[in-house]
């Protein structure tokens, strides 16, 4: 097989937006891929072609367009299943995003199986999407929430995890990769320990599936949630992976069209997975885009993408650490993905981000939907630069120069 060497300049040509000038003469330097990734031409075109050629509602229609649209919707599911090495495509449930995937499990499996004082283990580094659904369940059902602490070097305290596991938890739900610290958690080990303790597991893979080779069978994870828009795909669609027996035993989520086998005036029977969880007309064009995104990432190679991002974060940390007054949060480069969150000289992250924007540099400022983690770190907000397959060292240099400009404004 011919292995094409990773060429970031060639990759950049696939992303039309990277040519954009945010104002005359100022090209965008996009360092906000952790919030959402940019989209390659092939994804934009796949969705465009769907609307121009094949648009119809899926299922039940027997006309050509409906057949075509249904086939495309299901083909994308097969691609996504292969991408994460799911045993079968019916284990991929389309959702709106990672948040909805986690909520789906919280509203169906958890409400059918958990009762008052049952223990759910989460971590202190969770995104609000893996906190609030469980807080809502706790308020409603009285389930107990415990949290694996984050250590000073930005890792999970696995000793505390082991002791929490001795309290007979029913569920362990955690981020594969932190969207603030970039920490890549030892998911396989944590899942194995959870299973030994008799708990099920949910992996919030919003930040890992776009950047790492993730194999649900190797991980042996019970549920996994991720979003298309963070992996070169469109917004409005995500996926929940689940083990077949679990998905089949779960009650349905939303009720409506497509999720039924039979409907009477006063009753219904739900259909089989995955349709059981996909009520109503879904995001069809987006599913086609999701499939195209997976094709695109596969054509580059996830190992190659990870290696490039690793090079980027190593270089970024090295350059950022030279800046007096700049403090980076999270572990060393070997334990994290392409995310650098930092504070700078007491200057508010909004001000940092605003001044960087003058040079077209797009970073995120705030608590990044991880307010409890920021509280733990003792800071209200951070500035976050994040990298993807199209990021370059020149962009890191632009960021560093921009931070020195911030210093001059606030001097």
């Amino acid at each position: 097989m011919l292995i094409m060497s990773f060429n970031v300049q060639r990759i950049r040509k696939d992303f039309p937006i990277l040519d954009r000038e945010v104002r005359p003469g100022v090209k965008v330097v996009y360092l906000d891929s952790t919030a959402t990734s940019q989209k390659p031409e092939s994804v934009i075109e796949a969705m465009n072609a769907f609307y121009r050629r094949s648009n119809a509602n899926i299922h039940r229609g027997v006309h050509t367009l409906a057949e075509e649209a249904t086939a495309m919707y299901e083909q994308a599911r097969v691609k996504i299943a292969k991408f994460i090495n799911a045993p079968s495509a019916h284990q991929i449930i389309y959702t709106r995003n990672t948040t909805e995937s986690i909520n789906l499990v919280a509203y169906t499996w958890a409400r059918a199986n958990l009762k008052s004082s049952d223990l759910i283990i989460l971590t202190e580094m969770e995104h609000h999407s893996n906190l609030v659904p469980w807080q809502m369940l706790a308020a409603e059902r009285g389930v107990r929430l415990e949290f694996i602490p984050v250590t000073d070097d930005g890792l999970l305290d696995l000793d505390v995890y082991r002791s929490l596991l001795s309290q007979n938890p029913k569920l362990v739900s955690f981020a594969h990769m932190s969207n603030v610290l970039g920490t890549i958690n030892p998911a396989a080990e944590m899942i194995r320990l959870a299973h030994e303790a008799g708990a099920l597991t949910i992996l919030d893979a919003a930040q890992s599936v776009p950047h790492l080779k993730v194999d649900v069978q190797k991980l042996d994870v019970d549920f996994m949630a991720f979003s298309a828009h963070k992996m070169c795909g469109p917004t409005g669609i995500g996926a929940l992976y689940g083990k077949t027996a679990l998905l089949e035993a779960m009650p349905p989520f939303l009720g409506g069209g497509d999720m039924i086998k039979e409907v009477k005036l006063r009753s219904f029977r739900p259909t089989t997975i995955p349709s059981k969880f996909e009520a109503g007309t879904p995001a069809i064009a987006e599913s086609v885009g999701f499939g195209a995104a997976v094709d695109y990432l596969s054509s580059i190679g996830m190992e190659e993408i990870s290696a490039h991002e690793h090079e980027m974060i190593e270089y970024a940390l090295e350059r950022l650490e030279e800046i007096p007054g700049l403090k980076i949060f999270g572990p060393t480069a070997d334990k994290k993905g392409g995310v650098a969150s930092f504070t700078f000289d007491g200057i508010h992250p909004h001000d940092v981000a605003q001044i960087l924007d003058r040079d077209g540099i797009a970073v995120r400022a705030g608590h990044h939907c991880a307010q409890p983690l920021h509280e733990k770190l003792g800071i209200p907000a951070t500035t976050r630069a994040s990298f993807y397959l199209y990021s370059t060292k020149e962009e890191v240099n632009a960021l560093v120069n921009g931070i020195y400009k911030v210093k001059r404004v606030f001097g």
């Binding site: 605003q354 003058r358 404004v409 606030f410």
Partner: protein, 131 residues
């Protein structure tokens, strides 16, 4: 120099005249901008005619939110509470002398929301207060 970081804003951010607390006070209220974690507390003293005699703010946030708090308090000394209730978004934009996009506007308006929620005696500072 960037419009957003006009000298007046940097000056009020770095050397605010109205930063602090008032104890005792007649009105005190605090709230956050949930998007960025900015926090502002405002204390007021009001005379028997219902006019603001003293005002202080404390909190943390970006230059825009902190400078607009300082400018806002400066602008209400001597005003009646009814006049304060009538202040809106435009007042803050006039004080700052800049145009703001929807995200930064929230930073700029936080102090006015907190002020008006306090003056009205509300439990929460809502966006409706400043529109």
């Amino acid at each position: 120099m960037d419009d957003l970081y006009r000298e007046v804003i940097i000056e009020h951010y770095k050397n605010p005249s109205y930063r602090g607390h008032l104890d005792p006070h007649d009105i005190s209220f605090a709230d956050n901008n949930p998007l960025c974690g900015d926090h502002i507390q405002i204390d007021l003293r009001v005379d028997k005619d219902g006019k603001v005699t003293e005002a202080r703010f404390d909190g943390h946030g970006c230059a825009i939110s902190q400078a607009s708090a300082d400018l806002l308090l400066e602008s209400i000394i001597g005003k009646s509470l009814d006049e304060v209730k009538a202040l809106n978004k435009q007042h803050i934009l006039d004080l700052l002398g800049i145009d703001l996009g929807p995200v930064r506007l929230k930073c700029a308006l936080l102090s006015l929301k907190v002020l008006k929620a306090g003056v009205y005696g509300l439990g929460e500072a809502s966006d409706q207060l400043v529109e």
